[in-house]
Amino acid sequence: MKNAVGREIPEEIIEITGKEPFQGNYYRDDKPITLHGPTIRPVINNQKSKLVGSIREALEKCDAHDGMTVSFHHHFRDGDLIVNMVMKEIHDMGLKDIRICATSLGKAHSALVPMIEDGTITNIESSGVRGGIGEAISKGKLKGLAIMRSHGGRVRSIATGESHIDIAFIGAPTADDYGNLRGIGGKADCGVLSYAIVDGNHADHCVAITDCLVPYPNFPAHISQTKVDYVCVVDEIGIPSKIATGAAKPTTDQRKLLMAQYCTDVVVNTPWFKDGFSYQTGVGGASIASTQYLADIMRERNIRMGFGVGGLTKAMCKLLDDGMADVMLDVQDFDLDAVKSLKNVNHHRIPAAVYANPLNKGAVVNKLDYVVLASLEVDVHFNCNVVVGSDGMITGAQGGHPDTAQGAKCAIVICPLLQGRIPAICSEVTTVTTPGESIDVVVTDYGVAVNPARQDILQALKEAECVPLKTIEELRDIAYSIVGEPDKVEFEDRVVGIIEARDGTIMDVVRQIKEV
């Protein structure tokens, strides 16, 4: 059955998962849903200690069993030690058929590959996967299905009970002995715990893991003692240098600077760029450079940013610290400057649910004017692919891409026309992760294309004569004229993963890669 972005979703997948094919961005708007609550074991006895001596003990006390679902957050990014630590223990206990429900999995987690191969892990739900795990899934080694969800989509699936977490493991930079957790302080300072808050609210069991136990009460808590069953102290929960890095040096790559300039020109010449505008951007060189160009123009025209949101960087937080933005809403910190900026009273932590969940009563992304995103591929229908490489291998994560792109009034994707020989603008993306209806402008080094559905933006940019405008088909044709039209990557029939839309419908499927 073909869904709203023209992707064939096999009947058997619809049957197995009970999900519907994607029907368009507003399909579930205003439709009633019932939320799900966890089954918990209350702590009334004031003699009970929550401290456990080991992860093994925590697992045993939480009734770890075959087929259970365990969850993790990725605030420690490539410096994360929690996932491997917990999974090793689960593996050593001989448990099987484990479902991992992570906010994201990355290069730090390649140690899980043998556990996928031996059947310890049979299902993975994540924003995406990189490195060894992505390869393992693409090669068909995972017994069950991998489900890729956006940050907002994950909150939705947990809150509605579609994903039921048996045990949540929450790495906490600081914790007290009664489970008040903070993202700040300690050795593995990541600033916020935004992605893990939903786990605390909906998991049956919740185990905090810290390497910095602080006196009670660790307040204000980002995750409350009322959600946490056990606290386990270990030597090390993360590698600080890989968690919040030093702020990226400003790029000197003229190609990125060129795209940054185009991007800023698009922003400042569209109608939402006025006092109080809202903005989200990424961590790439071009994104950071365009934020700096934007700051210059904000100064020049005396325009303030109402709020900035997202995974934050120095470039964004500087706007707040320089008094050019009123508020920053923070779900993740990419560098130490962003962590430091949390001291500012107008820099607020928000849970992933508030940030991006499509099925609550309105998330922050709905209030965004601009979002600047990247993409591995964009096709002539403006569909974006941020999960599966052009070679067919799973290699990226949805993150907040589909959430913010849908929410923002003007969603801009920056991507160089060519990645080596691979054309980033193509006839058909390998896999759809964000539907074209969410994407408004595509900025490349060869020119800027506006989604024809957005005549208002096209008109504004035409009048401003600020950027070289091309149609998306023209950009693709230029790319193909340089590198040649790529052959279609061949896949096996077997579906190894699902790209879930924000609202839980199926955006696309990922098939097993064919060996060459």
């Binding site: 000197t252 003229q254 190609r255 600077l257 060129l258 080094d445 060869y446 004229s481 340089i482």
Partner: protein, 300 residues
């Protein structure tokens, strides 16, 4: 033999190593006026052959989108330059840059080889232009005769690295060691009605110094500057952007002279002041620069 490209705009000429596919793939996205595909200093001795194959196919197959393609051949004191010229001309280059030019004869020697290659590869006679890099005290002092040496020669360029060595001084960053050469070369080029280009600025960490130097050579009358990194291009183009006032004036000059000439009138006035026909070429250049800089949207 008049090549319309002889007097094209050349504010920036970006140096690219022919031997690096990633560099020669699509430099036009940075919008330089010219690129200089280098077979000489950038290419290691044992890769000279490889660079030629790369050059030939790049010229044949990559659409440089109107950016001028200048090829720097190896010096006349090597046994490489003749084959370099055959390769470049066969590939379809626009111009040949002669390194270490010392005399008018050097230019004529190259001109002869180019003409031969044009015949061999069936290109129209005169289609390949020449520029001469002056890299020694002798070359600089001979600027006038070099400028006058060939109808194909569109300009001369100062090559600061070798020149400063010949002068026995280090490059100071202040430009003091280049003062005489720059002034002398601009005058010679203007006298011969050819173009004049300044040397490269290699310290990429000092963009302010680069800007200062570009402002100086711009006000000295240079037509453009050699570039080693695409980051330098917007700076040069910004400095070479004519002021709004000068564009408006130039437009009036051209329109006045064109109209009056058509009416057979030989006296021209702009804003109530008499102007000379000698303003005409300058005004044309201003409009061309304004168009290239994207600040002129008029109908000239």
């Amino acid at each position: 033999m008049s090549n319309p490209n002889k007097y094209r705009l050349r504010r920036t000429m970006m140096f690219l190593n022919c031997q690096k596919p990633s560099l020669i793939k699509d430099p036009y996205v940075y919008k330089p006026d010219s690129i200089m595909l280098d077979l000489e200093d950038a290419v290691a001795e044992r890769e000279k052959d490889a660079a030629r194959y790369s050059l030939y196919h790049a010229l044949q197959e990559i659409d440089y989108r109107g950016v001028e393609r200048v090829v720097r051949i190896n010096g006349l004191d090597t046994n490489l330059w003749r084959e370099d010229i055959r390769c470049a001309v066969a590939g379809g280059c626009d111009s040949i840059r002669i390194p270490k030019t010392e005399t008018a004869d050097d230019v004529r020697t190259v001109e002869y080889a180019i003409a031969e290659a044009e015949r061999e590869f069936s290109r129209p006679e005169g289609s390949v232009l020449i520029m001469a890099a002056l890299e020694s005290a002798r070359g600089v002092i001979n600027a006038m005769s070099i400028c006058d040496s060939s109808e194909r020669l569109f300009g001369i360029a100062l090559s600061g690295g070798d020149y400063s060595k010949d002068l026995q001084v280090p490059i100071s960053g202040t430009g003091v060691e280049f003062m005489g050469a720059r002034q002398h070369m601009v005058i010679a080029a203007r006298a011969a009605k050819v173009q004049c280009f300044d040397t490269v600025w290699t310290n990429l960490d000092d963009m302010e110094g680069f800007r200062r130097e570009t402002e100086i050579i711009h006000s000295m009358g240079f037509d453009g500057k050699s570039i080693v990194n695409p980051r330098q291009i917007p700076v040069v183009h910004e400095i070479y952007t004519p002021s709004e006032k000068s564009v408006i004036f130039a437009e009036k000059v051209i329109k006045e002279i064109d109209t009056k000439k058509a009416q057979g009138i030989g006296v021209f006035t702009v804003d109530g002041k008499m102007i000379d026909i000698a303003f005409y070429d300058g005004a044309k250049r201003t409009i061309a620069l304004a168009k290239a800089s994207g600040v002129y949207k008029g109908d000239l």
